[in-house]
Structures are given as structure tokens and as C-alpha cells.
């Protein structure tokens, strides 16, 4: 028969610590990362930032040397690829300049003002997540530099992620490759929209809304999501996809940003239109307009026109694509 005395002291301490851990997990999950957990995280990150800065300064030359060493073998192939890319980019530059001139002329004719450029804050990546499953980066600018939660982060290639927490000196950015992140995108070539889902280190998954629209390898996907400025390059399609049975169109895409090797990033001073997104999220589906009975009734107008009844649908169907904004599921 089991008796308390049959448990030795280390096992007792172990069981106690496991119980404390489970309580902490429950409390933190119930608070959704806010509350005492959020306060503790901010405090520890504040204390730990100077340590990370010192260690980073000390280890950066070593890390860069090791990185260069591992790159030596791929240099020849990369050189050839870059030469081809330069030729292609030269051609695109000429095209872009021509288009820019035409757009400016058309804007002048139509009296349309050119969109203002967003302000941005340049930051350097200070640290990575503590585990392989932590798809976040710590950047060396925080609240004191004007960064707030939800601001989009980009590099020279495109969208990197979104700020999820801020302290005075540093911010944490969740990468778009995080499995809990979904981004609404538009194919630059066709204008068709879809949703891009992170899968960690594997290529992202693209699901298209219009299953009849073909997706071609190399198609650039740009942001069409209320949380980010429209038109930021997000990913490039890896495989062509054509709907086989008309129900779904899925393919894979890789981020245009150097997500795994980012060094410097730009935080865009952009806050999403909260009211607009909230309206869309509440609505879930557009209302269906049902005409009332054609027979004259009490609700019939004086002119004899039938009245209309609005019926909202789709209550509580969980998270979904709503308008132009797509949520992030799970904790991460």
C-alpha cells in the first residue's frame, strides 16, 4: 500500500515543482500572456537586455566568422546566381522607371495625390528565441524609440513580422513563419487573394480564395491584410498550383525577407485601422438581404414597395478570414 513516506525527498520536491509549473502554465494561459506573466517577462527582458548586449558584442565576431566559414562552399554558386539576378534586376529597373513616369503623369492628369511614405524606425536584431520552436526575434529598439505593439517589421526583401511586445529598450517581433501566424495576401500578377500560413522552418502554405485562378511558380505575394500596409512583398510562390476538383487551391511559398538571417530591420510606424477591422471581425459574413413577402402587409411602404429584412449569419464560427484581416491563432 502506498504511503507518503515511500516517496523519497527528491521525488517529493520533483512532484512539487511539477505542480507549481502546471499552476504557472494554467495561470499564464488564462491571462493570455498578460497579467503577472506579462509584467515578469517585461521586467526580466529589461534586466537581461544589457547582458544580451554585452554577450552579443563579444560573440558577434565569432558568429560572423563561423557564418562566413560555412558560406565559403556556397560562394561560387551564389556568385553565379547573383550575376543572373543583377541582369534581371537591371531589366526590371528600366521597366519600373518607365512605369513610375507613367503613374506620375496619370496622377497629375487625374489630380490624385501620391501616397505618403510611411515613417520607419531602423533596428538591429539583438537576440533569437530561446528554443527552436520560438519564432521570434528581439530587436534593439523599444518604446523609447517610438515602437508600439502591432507595428509591422520589414527588411530589404519584404515583410518580416509584427511587434508583439515592447519594453523601454527592446521589442519582440513574431516572424511570419510562426505556425500561429496567418497573413492575407494578394498575388501581384493577378490580384487574386488568399491566406498565407506559417509552418516554422518549412515553406509557408498558400490557400487561395478563388480556386479557379492558377498560381504560377515565382508569383510574388503582397500584403492585403488590415494589420500591414498594403503592397509589401510577403512571399514568393514555390510551386505552381491549379485546382483539381474545384474545392481548394493550395501551394507553398517562401518569405521574400531573409527571415532566418535577418540583421537589420525597419519597423513601420503604421497602426491598423482598429475600427474598420473590428467591424469586419464582428460581422464575420456580410448580411443577406431577404425580400419580404410580396403580398401587401403591414410593413409595406406607401409606394407599395416590399420592405427588406437584414439577417446576419455565421455566428461563432471561430476564427476565420474576415474581409482583409486574418488573425493569429494559438499562443506562440
Amino acid at each position: 500500500m502506498w504511503r507518503p513516506t515511500s516517496v523519497d525527498r527528491p521525488t517529493g520536491v520533483f512532484i512539487g515543482l511539477i505542480v507549481v509549473s502546471l499552476v504557472l502554465i494554467t495561470v499564464d494561459l488564462r491571462a493570455s500572456g498578460a497579467g503577472i506573466g506579462g509584467t515578469l517577462r517585461e521586467g526580466v527582458q529589461d534586466v537581461f537586455t544589457p547582458v544580451q548586449r554585452v554577450v552579443s558584442a563579444g560573440t558577434r565576431p565569432v558568429a560572423e566568422f563561423l557564418e562566413d566559414l560555412s558560406d565559403i562552399f556556397s560562394l561560387r554558386g551564389e556568385n553565379r546566381r547573383l550575376r543572373d539576378e543583377v541582369i534581371e534586376l537591371d531589366r526590371r529597373l528600366v521597366e519600373a522607371e518607365n512605369l513610375q513616369t507613367r503613374v506620375a503623369e496619370l496622377e497629375a492628369i487625374l489630380g490624385v495625390e501620391a501616397p505618403a511614405e510611411l515613417d520607419s524606425i531602423v533596428a538591429q536584431v539583438l537576440a533569437v528565441g530561446v528554443s527552436e520552436f520560438d519564432h521570434s526575434r528581439v530587436i534593439d529598439r523599444g518604446r523609447s524609440a517610438g515602437i508600439t505593439v502591432d507595428m509591422p517589421v520589414i527588411d530589404e526583401g519584404g515583410l518580416v513580422g509584427r511587434v508583439i511586445s515592447v519594453t523601454d529598450d527592446v521589442s519582440r517581433v513574431r516572424l511570419i513563419t510562426d505556425p500561429s501566424v496567418r497573413v492575407a495576401v494578394r498575388i501581384e500578377r493577378t490580384g487574386e487573394t488568399g491566406v498565407l500560413t506559417g509552418r516554422g522552418s518549412a515553406p509557408m502554405v498558400l490557400e487561395m480564395f478563388n480556386t479557379d485562378a492558377a498560381v504560377v511558380e515565382g508569383d510574388t505575394l503582397i500584403s492585403a491584410d488590415g494589420r500591414f500596409p498594403a503592397g509589401i512583398p510577403v512571399a514568393r510562390v514555390l510551386e505552381p498550383a491549379r485546382s483539381e476538383v474545384g474545392f481548394s487551391l493550395r501551394t507553398t511559398a517562401e518569405p521574400t525577407a531573409q527571415v532566418t538571417r535577418i540583421d537589420f530591420v525597419r519597423v513601420l510606424v503604421f497602426t491598423r485601422d482598429e475600427a474598420g477591422i473590428q467591424d469586419l471581425e464582428d460581422l464575420e459574413r456580410p448580411p443577406i438581404i431577404i425580400p419580404a413577402d410580396e403580398a401587401p402587409a403591414e410593413g409595406e411602404s406607401e409606394e407599395g414597395l416590399p420592405t427588406e429584412t437584414t439577417v446576419p449569419t455565421g455566428e461563432g464560427e471561430g476564427e476565420g478570414v474576415t474581409g482583409t484581416s486574418v488573425g493569429e491563432g494559438g499562443g506562440g
Binding site: 525527498r9 527528491p10 521525488t11 520536491v13 520533483f14 515543482l17 511539477i18 507549481v20 509549473s21 502546471l22 499552476v23 504557472l24 502554465i25 495561470v27 499564464d28 494561459l29 500572456g33 506573466g37 515578469l40 517577462r41 526580466v44 527582458q45 537581461f48 547582458v51 544580451q52 554585452v54 554577450v55 552579443s56 560573440t59 558577434r60 558568429a63 560572423e64 557564418e67 560555412s70 536584431v125 539583438l126 537576440a127 533569437v128 528565441g129 530561446v130 528554443s131 527552436e132 520552436f133 520560438d134 521570434s136 528581439v138 508583439i164 511586445s165 505556425p179 500561429s180 509552418r199 516554422g200 522552418s201 518549412a202 532566418t260 540583421d263 491563432g329 494559438g330 499562443g331 506562440g332
Partner: protein, 173 residues
């Protein structure tokens, strides 16, 4: 155990855990062969738990895990639970390891794989989507291989730092 040795061990534990967490998050920022890095904090917990008194080893695992939780976005307590379990297994098996050093490398490999798998499974149970990461098998196995590669350096270093005398220790005369 004399007081000086106690203080020395406490200092080694605190400094090594903080340094391991700092290295884990900064050194492997860009240098990530096969897109993975060693699980340094876990390796340090294994190295410390080999020599510390049982309860002290368990608290070290718990504290190191809590630090990892606070430096990440995972639910507070996930890493604490994982590293406490790792420390407990080390405490239970360490006597057998001292008898046969050839078991150390496979032990570190198995424990790292087990620890990261436990974290991934618990994360998924608590809604973290860790197993939704398509490369999760590689993310479990590659850090374990790196940890084995570092075993020959890290474990004797901690044996020396904690003031313990054993056959594996090349730093002692």
C-alpha cells in the same frame, strides 16, 4: 560541504545559467547550421545536475526553465516543467553514469531529444502549435547532436567549476 564551496557552487549555477541563456539567444542568431542551434541551457542543466545535491539540482532545472520561459513567448512554466524533469532524470541516473563514462554521450543525446520532445508535446497540448512546425523532427534531433558534440567540453568544464574531482576532468592535475 564547507561554506566557501557552497557559495562557489551557487555562483557557478547562477552565472552559468544566465550565460548559457545569453549565448543561446545571441551567438546562434545568424550562425545556425542546418537551421538549428544547440540546446545550451539544457546541456548546462544536465552538467550541473550531475554533481549538485538532488534538491538543489531540481531547483536549478526549475529556475533555468523559468528564465527560458520569461525570455520567450511560451506559456510561463513550460520550460520550467521540462528542465525540472530533465534534472530529475539526471539525478536518478547519475550514479550509473559515473561508473561507465561511455554512456554519457548517448545519455545526453537521449535526454536532449526527450526534453525537447516533452516541451513540443506540452506546448501543443497547451495551444502553442509547436508540433505544427513542419520541421519539428529536425528541430528535435539536430540540437541533440550539437549537444553531444559539446558534451566533451561542457561536462568536464562544469565538473572543474563546481570543484568536483572525477576521472573525466582534464582540468585537474
Amino acid at each position: 560541504m564547507n561554506t566557501a564551496l557552497k557559495y562557489r557552487r551557487a555562483a557557478v549555477v547562477v552565472v552559468s545559467v544566465i550565460l548559457a541563456a545569453a549565448l543561446q539567444t545571441t551567438l546562434f542568431l545568424r550562425f545556425r547550421p542546418f537551421d538549428a542551434a544547440p540546446a545550451l541551457v539544457m546541456l548546462v542543466v544536465i552538467a550541473l545536475a550531475r554533481h549538485l545535491p538532488a534538491e538543489f539540482a531540481l531547483f536549478t532545472g526549475f529556475s533555468a526553465g523559468l528564465l527560458e520561459d520569461l525570455l520567450s513567448q511560451s506559456a510561463l512554466g513550460l520550460w520550467a516543467l521540462t528542465l525540472t524533469t530533465v534534472a530529475y532524470i539526471v539525478v536518478r541516473i547519475r550514479d550509473r553514469l559515473e561508473e561507465d563514462f561511455s554512456l554519457l554521450a548517448p545519455f545526453v543525446f537521449g535526454l536532449t531529444v526527450g526534453g525537447i520532445t516533452l516541451f513540443a508535446v506540452l506546448g501543443t497540448i497547451f495551444g502553442e502549435k509547436t508540433l505544427a512546425d513542419a520541421g519539428f523532427v529536425r528541430k528535435i534531433l539536430v540540437p541533440a547532436v550539437y549537444n553531444v558534440a559539446l558534451t566533451g567540453l561542457v561536462l568536464p568544464l562544469f565538473t572543474w567549476a563546481l570543484g568536483v574531482r572525477d576521472k573525466l576532468n582534464p582540468y585537474q592535475a
